[in-house]
């Protein structure tokens, strides 16, 4: 039994409040998810738990306390804490040298592992995270893919055998397959550890989480608005703020929205900025026909030329070349069915619910079409889905996967989805 307790924890940096008096009682083993929009101090809370953020350093101030099994984590040397609590960065920095050296480095310098055991432990954890099977342990760590780096980071942390593992958005930049690997790993690790994970992905939270906290912006920094089992929070939040946040844009039309009704409609994806060349919109198109080989390529993988052509032409409404047409026919997909086009009043008329990618988009759309305000809401109840301004297709593909997940989740949750309490 592991017990992590936050007592009136408040953090501020350069006099700007980041977190206001958080009280939270976590017991392990198990997975606790921290949800909430960007900038409410979720990551800061995580960092404070490993004393990566400390009062009096770099302009931070802290009041309140964090207790691990009843003892303040701020008492005693930090090294004692890092032996019990591991922290994994969102985009883990790779240490110098090989995959093996990355894991051995922590063990070599933790001052309690015997030299002759280090190699064995490192190989063991690398086996556990599945890296030992995939690549040579002497390969340079910097050449690993995003998912492999994340798993290496987990191995690095787990090698020190912490009781608590803090994970900051571990799958935020990963392709769906790598995400699933990480999720499985998290479930396995959670059998004997307390895992506290910050994430934006509601679907992920539902799959791996036991309990969840929802953080919102308060008057003096982020506050913990809700804590409990995840379905309770998403479907019947007690906190008015959380309810408003989840149901933002709100369904005035109180008919229960069923899957059939949404599926009957044309699948209306409102790309960010109404941009036809939006990377995200393109990725959504590719995900749509992801049955195609290479519909959405993994990092370093060359996508199938014809599939790309097919998906590009369906998105842009351009005639496909013969090869692409054959691919589409084989998939039983009508060409042009997914063409991106400007939003019209008619489209909104036809839709029962319009999901936007960002809150800003919701507002713009509601201003343009006041008659349909009630139908418009953000797809992700937690955070905006932004189009990356640059970068390769890996990230938009990942966002597209997340959009699909969210749509699935919406369909599944639709019957119990809380209607906004009428004012």
């Amino acid at each position: 039994m592991i017990h992590l307790r936050y007592q009136q924890l408040a953090l501020a940096v350069a006099r700007r409040p980041v977190i206001e008096a958080v009280d939270l009682d976590l017991t392990g083993p198990g997975v606790v998810i921290l949800l909430g929009p960007s900038g409410v101090g979720k990551s800061s809370l995580l960092k404070a738990t490993q004393r990566l953020i400390e009062g009096g350093v770099d302009g931070w101030t802290r009041s309140g306390d964090i207790l691990l099994d009843g003892r303040s984590i701020f008492a005693g040397p930090r090294r004692e804490l890092t032996r019990r609590v591991g922290y994994i960065q969102q985009l883990p920095a790779m240490l110098m040298g090989s995959v093996r050296a990355n894991v051995e480095f922590g063990l070599r310098h933790d001052g309690r592992t015997a030299r002759r055991e280090i190699r064995g432990i490192a190989e063991h954890v690398l086996e556990d995270v599945g890296l030992a099977r995939e690549l040579s342990l002497d390969a340079p760590a910097r050449n690993l893919s995003g998912g492999q780096q994340q798993r290496l980071a987990i191995a690095r942390a787990v090698a020190l055998q912490p009781e608590v593992l803090l994970m900051d958005e571990p799958t935020s930049a990963l392709d769906p397959i790598s995400s699933i690997q990480i999720e499985r790993l998290v479930r396995t690790l959670a059998r004997e550890r307390l895992i506290v994970m910050v994430t934006h992905k509601v679907a992920l939270a539902e799959r791996v989480g036991d309990r969840a906290g929802f953080m919102l912006r308060g008057e003096r920094g982020g506050r913990l608005a809700e804590f409990g089992p995840l379905p309770a929070i998403l479907h019947a939040a007690a906190d008015e703020g959380v309810r408003r946040f989840i149901g933002m844009g709100a369904i005035v039309d109180q008919r229960p929205t069923t899957a059939a009704q949404i599926l009957d409609k044309k699948f209306l994806v409102i790309g960010p900025g109404h941009n036809r060349h939006s990377l995200m919109a393109q990725a959504i198109g590719r995900e749509e026909i992801s049955g195609l080989p290479g519909g959405c390529a993994d990092a370093g993988e060359q996508p199938d030329e014809n599939a790309w052509n097919a998906s590009s032409s369906t998105i842009d409404g351009l005639p496909p070349n013969p090869a692409a047409r054959r691919v589409l026919e084989k998939m039983d997909l009508a060409h042009g069915g997914h063409a991106s086009r400007p939003i019209t009043a008619e489209m909104l008329e036809q839709a029962d619910i319009v999901f936007c990618m960002t809150r800003g988009q919701c507002e713009t759309l509601a201003r343009q079409y006041p008659a349909h305000t009630g139908k418009i809401q953000p797809l992700d109840p937690v955070d905006d889905l932004e189009d990356p301004r640059e970068g390769d297709l890996e990230f938009p593909c990942h966002v597209a996967g997340r959009i699909k997940e969210l749509v699935r989740w919406r369909l599944h949750a639709a019957p119990q989805y809380p209607a906004r309490p009428s004012a």
């Binding site: 985009l91 480095f105 050449n143």
Partner: protein, 268 residues
């Protein structure tokens, strides 16, 4: 317009550098005799070779670079990686910049007075090395600071998260990660030392023989060239040959650094 001007300026700069090199080699060509690099100078340097001067240059510049690195690296690590009051960082930065700006002849005077006079080392390798290291250290420290600051802070955070000591973090991760930048800085400073005459003229002296102890006088190439030009009648030809050699050495140092950095990049 600006494109053309920029292209012309670039071409001019490149041509200038190449031009100097070519000019030196053309004029110096007559001075290159068989065994020039190993033989001793004769006839006040107007004839013979340049061997002892090359050895002295290697000793003085090499030792000064090592000494300056040994001084600058810990200083740069302290300024970038350690907890310290913010004012101290700003203050040391300003002072370092002043140090970089101090003219070399001033360093030379200072070195001659302190190491040569007060400490009694006289015109010697020791005085030269110490003075040159003083001149190089601020340049190196400033370069090391920017090299170390360019390392992703996530690396340090990761090490902290693993509970690694600051010592191990800095020497095992951050310094190796910054190594290409650190090497380039050290080479740049060594290049300065290689070409410096003003600071060494009054410190390591002008003796064109191999020093047998660190208290012997020894001329580096740059000082030797200065000496040939100013005190040896008809020494111009020999000065050109030595200058061409100095140019080649400086170019060699830069090429070696570029090559080493290229290797680094490909090694990932």
């Amino acid at each position: 317009m600006i494109r053309v001007a920029g292209a012309l300026a670039t071409a001019l700069l490149v041509a200038l550098t190449i031009g100097i090199g070519v000019d030196l080699f053309v004029r110096g060509a007559a001075g290159f005799r068989p065994g020039y690099l190993v033989r001793e100078p004769r006839d006040l340097g107007r004839g013979g070779g340049i061997g002892p001067v090359l050895v002295s240059t290697g000793i003085v510049v090499g030792a000064a670079t090592l000494l300056a690195t040994a001084l600058s690296l810990p200083a740069a690590v302290f300024i970038t990686e350690m907890r310290r009051p913010a004012w101290f960082g700003r203050f040391s930065h300003i002072v370092l910049n002043i140090g970089i700006g101090v003219p070399r002849i001033v360093w030379g005077l200072f070195g001659a007075a302190l190491f040569g006079g007060v400490l009694g080392f006289g015109f010697s390798v020791a005085t030269g090395v110490l003075t040159l290291a003083c001149l190089m250290a601020p340049i190196m420290t400033a370069g090391f600071i920017s090299g170390l600051s360019a390392v992703d802070p996530a690396l340090a955070e990761q090490c902290r998260a693993l509970g690694t000591s600051r010592w191990a973090t800095v020497w095992r991760q951050i310094v190796p990660a910054a190594r290409p930048a650190l090497t380039a800085t050290a080479a740049l400073a060594a290049g300065r030392g290689l070409g410096d005459a003003a600071a060494l003229l009054f410190t390591s002296g002008v003796a064109a023989s191999i020093p047998h102890s660190c208290f012997d006088s020894a001329a580096t190439l740059a000082v030797y060239i200065f000496h040939l030009l100013t005190s040896v009648p008809g020494g111009q030809q020999a000065a050109y040959a030595a200058a061409a050699l100095l140019f080649a050495l400086a170019a060699l140092v830069q090429l070696a650094v570029s090559w080493a950095q290229g290797e680094q990049r490909f090694a990932g």
